[in-house]
Symmetry: C2
Subunit: 125 residues, 2 copies
Amino acid sequence: MEFDDKIPIYYQIKQYIYQEIIVNHLAPGDKLPAVRQLALTLTVNVNTIQRALSELINEGILESKRGRGNFVTTDVATLTDLKHRVVEEQLALMYDRLADLQIAPEDMVAYLTDYIAKRKEQAQA
Amino acid sequence: MEFDDKIPIYYQIKQYIYQEIIVNHLAPGDKLPAVRQLALTLTVNVNTIQRALSELINEGILESKRGRGNFVTTDVATLTDLKHRVVEEQLALMYDRLADLQIAPEDMVAYLTDYIAKRKEQAQA
DNA sequence: ACTAGTGTATTAGCCTTCTATTACACTATA
DNA sequence: TATAGTGTAATAGAAGGCTAATACACTAGT
C-alpha cells in the first residue's frame, strides 16, 4: 500500500479501513486480519496498526476480543452513519477547495463533468 | 488562519499562496508581505514561512530579491500552468476518493449536485 | 554613513510519528 | 496442559516539523 508522506500513516490506515467497510469488503461481524499480518501486508510496524485500530475501537467501528481478534461491529446503525459521514466529508472537502479557488457551485458540476470525460478518454488510450 | 494538524504547516502555506495567486489576490510581479509580517499574520515561525517560500522559489512561482522582498514571478506561462495544475489536482483527488468508495463516475455528478443543493439550503438557514 | 526594512542561515530544544524489540495476557485446540 | 494464535503494553531511538533566538547579508532612503 502506498502512503502519502504528508499524512500520518496510522491515519491513512484508519481511512483505508473505513473504505473497506463502506464498500463491504468487511461486513458487520467480520474478523479482521491479525495485527501482525496487517503489519506485514501494509509493511508498517505493529504499533502503527495498533494505533489505527485502537482509535477505530474507540469510535465503535471495531470491537476487540483479546486472544481472538478484531471484528467489525455488528451495530449496523454505526456503520450506516459511517458511510454517510465519510462520503459527505469527501464532498465537503472538494466543495470547499474549489470554492477557495473561486469556482462557483454551478461551475463545479461542469468542471467535474469535463474531468470525468477526460478520464474516460485516458482510460481508453 | 486555521491549519489541519495532520498536514505540515509549511505545506498548507504553499497551497494558500497558490490559491492567492490563482484567484489573483497576488498578480504577476506583486510583492509579497515581508516574511516577518507573514509570520505574524499566520501566527507561525519565520522559519516555517521561509520553508514554504523557498520551495515556491524553487518551483519558479516566486522570485526572491534579497533586501527587497519576495515577488510573484512575471512569467505568465508558469502561472497559468499552476492554475491548471492545482484545479486538476483537486478534481483528481475527489475523483479518486469517490472511486475508492465505489461510486461510479456518472453517480459522482449526482452526488455533487445533491450536495450543492444541501449547502444552498444551509446557507439560507 | 547610518538606519530601517528586507531575505537568509544556524543552532538548540520540543513534540509527534514511526520503528524495533521485548514482554505480557488471553483464547482455542491438539 | 502445552502450544500456536491472537491482542496489548512499554521502552528506546531515529526522523521530521515547529518554535525561539540570534546573527548575518543586502537594499533603499535619509
